[in-house]
Amino acid sequence: MRGLIIGVCVLFSIIFIVSCDSVMPASLEEDQLLDGPVSGLTGAEHRQFLLGDAAFNTEIFTGQSGLGPVFVATSCGSCHAGDGKGHPFTTLTRFGQSDASGNKFLAQGGPQLQHRALPGYSGERLPDGASSSRFVAPINTGLGFMELVSDVDLLAMADPEDIDGDGISGIVNWNTIPSYVKVADGAVSHEGKYITRFGKKASVYNLLQQTANAYNQDIGITSSFEPVDVYSHLEVDPEISTQTINNVVFYLQTLKAPIQRSTEREEVIKGKDLFVGISCEKCHKQTLRTGNSHIAALANKEFHPYSDLLLHDMGSQLDDGYTEGTAKTYEWRTAPLWGLGLSPNSQGGSYYLLHDGRAHSIEEAILWHGGEAASSRQSYEQLSDADKELLITFLKSL
């Protein structure tokens, strides 16, 4: 009888444990997570999202499956933990181009350094005389929305001659695109070049190019899109299927946009007013709009990246002497600020901001701004400590 009582107690304990949220850990709030699909996908689209998710976050490459032999990281997820900003240990080094005339170091391993190598191989070293810049991996979320902003909208925001006299120009990056990239409907071209928008220098046309290029340059994986091995510089058999790349592209397109937190807090509202008031919003555009898309959940939607996807002169302190496309070495694409407050969750509890992670706080990142952003930086410096705190609070809510 006593045994029976003990057994019943154990059974009830299990039922209690299973039903108790504090014992079975609860999920994080949706606005604390960067991963997850946009709402409104169909069942079939959810399936493809999950396939892309698995390829992006759990597929690890080894020497047997094509890694390298020279590389930067062993998987997509190594650089984009939780789909957030990357950590400096997977920072990319690009080198070999100083102006619009192109990369002079392609034969010496350019445009990207693969400084790591499989056992028995040696990683690449920067060639003498090559200019270079280091790029921390960006946040992945909401990329599908950014891909669908029309060229017309980008050109409308650009003001290369600063006609409105506000000190902020903003230009598009005209760049050549690989033959496998299908040009979007309504795309604008100029002397055989197209408007590119992804990457720190806005030098990549779309997410297919970004994905195929990252597999190749970051992991050393060849595909039907990028068939040249980064080590031998020879065309080799694809090491990843076209379908897998398509799944990853779909995954990146349909990752939800970061959700702003604490939007009702007074400090956040006041901080946002200050953000607009000192003209940060002139480049870090709050709202953009997508065009048509075969993915209904993305078509004709407003979204809030806090970026205009244009290149701006950021001053000499952020001039690394390296560039891509027609961007100048001191020009950088406006970094989308959405997800900024969640950066420490994917960067090991710290901030590593700006293109190379040199800024260890939001304030430090603001203070590195120069060039077209110098006036806004000076305005920030003149704010009271309390107002600075409000502005930072708003930025952390993004």
Binding site: I14, L28, I60, A117, Q347, G349
Partner: protein
């Protein structure tokens, strides 16, 4: 290997067919006492065996099955039922001083079949025994003492199975022996076997992972690099205190040359482990623990993803709370138990930032187990685990409820 499997099946069939005729022909074989006092190193023979009629072999085995419900950061994959392993033993005494034992394991419902042990032992002297065949490398204690029915926890200790590669066995030869008195026992083992390969630092776990070497289909046929793996252990036991062991395993893991051509420098893996077990007489509280340190020479150019150093271990505390007749089982025991475990897969700092590399976990596992007989256990576990990724991002939280059964047969 095929022949051994066929032999196992034949013996199994014979066992069944005879049993269908008359189960009284079964005969329980007494525990092997040829080495006197039992220590961890005797675990492979310290199991229940049955012989059938006059068949000159003894057989045995164990089975494990469990139910799992888990959530990670609030997301659950629901309810899962598994049969992680079914293991068969066959033992034979060819001579008073020559013994053979094999252990064949069917894992994950038969998806994987492996010979975990198949050795001939020749006793020349209690301190000088020669063993050859597939041996279990004596690193730590769990590797040799891993039978499911011996433990109060559904899952095996993570650090011993995913940091150390338990169950880790290889083809090789070696010596072992024991010296004991009424209250003390000393044992040693020393083997040369095939070893690891480069998969320990090139694997889909994205971390230095010694168990990856178990996936090589050739490892029982040839060494990956022609270099033997040295494994040795010494253990000391005092009846009133318990047993403590210290063990070492090391060797070159990479294929540094092929066809006479140099491919890379020789790179070593070295492991040191300590283990202990004791029973507090007053309360009959059993305490079992093991800790291991792993050092792997990873090429510097390979980056920090695959760690040079790892350490981790576990401690189990098992407290009998009721023994005697429960539910009509006359020798049953009800235990309360708790396991604490920790593992750091990548000890060090990032060169780029000077910050600590993560890739670590710790877990607490309270448990209740019921043993209707000493050889059978029903166990309920709750596992709470906190783990960090390589970058040291905020912990992911996992909770697992498990109900499992395990029994020798």
């Amino acid at each position: 290997m095929k022949y051994i499997l066929v032999a196992c099946c034949c013996l199994g069939l014979m066992h069944v067919s005879i049993a269908q005729v008359d189960s009284s022909l079964f005969r329980r074989i007494p525990r092997d006492t040829s080495f006197g006092k039992s220590m961890n190193m005797d675990a492979v023979y310290n199991r229940p065996f049955l012989s059938v009629g006059k068949v000159p072999v003894a057989t045995g085995g164990y089975v494990e099955s469990d139910y799992t419900y888990s959530t990670m950061d609030g997301i659950s994959e629901g309810h899962t039922f598994r049969i992680p392993r079914l293991t068969l033993f066959i033992a034979s005494s060819l001579h008073r001083k020559i013994k053979f034992l094999t252990e064949v394991e069917f894992e994950d419902g038969g998806k994987e079949v492996s010979i975990e042990f198949a050795s001939l032992d020749f006793m020349f002297h209690p301190l000088v025994n020669f063993r050859g065949g597939i041996v279990m490398n004596p690193i730590g204690a769990f590797n040799q003492n891993h039978d499911g029915p011996k433990w109060e926890f559904v899952e095996r200790p993570v650090a011993m199975t995913q940091m150390l590669p338990a169950t880790w066995s290889n083809v090789g030869f070696g010596l072992f022996g024991k010296k004991y008195s009424s209250s003390w026992a000393f044992g040693y083992e020393l083997y040369l076997t095939n070893g690891f390969d480069e998969s320990i630092i090139t694997n889909t776990r994205n971390r230095t992972y010694l168990p990856a070497a178990k996936n090589s289909p050739e490892r029982f046929m040839e060494s990956s690099n022609g270099q033997p793996l040295v494994t040795g252990k010494v253990a000391l036991q005092k009846k009133s205190i318990g047993e403590v062991g210290i063990s070492y395993m090391g060797g070159v893991y990479n294929k540094f040359q092929d066809d006479g051509l140099v491919l890379d420098e020789k790179r070593r893996v070295d492991v040191v482990a300590v283990d202990f077990n004791t029973t507090i007489p007053v309360w009959k509280t059993r305490i079992i623990g093991e800790w291991a340190w792993v050092h792997v020479n990873v090429p510097l150019s390979y980056g920090p993803q695959y760690g040079h150093r790892q350490y981790g271990g576990f401690i189990d505390v098992v407290q009998p709370v009721k023994s005697g007749t429960i539910f009509g089982f006359s020798r049953s025991v009800l235990n309360a138990a708790c396991r604490i475990e920790y593992g750091d897969w990548n000890v060090g700092k990032f060169e780029e930032t000077g910050t600590t590399i993560g890739d670590c976990f710790y877990a607490v596992v309270p448990a209740v187990s019921f043993r209707p007989t000493p050889q059978t256990v029903i166990r309920v576990n709750y596992r709470r685990e906190w783990s960090r990724d390589i970058i040291n991002n905020p912990s992911s939280r996992t909770a697992i409820i498990q109900l499992g059964i395990s029994s020798y047969f």
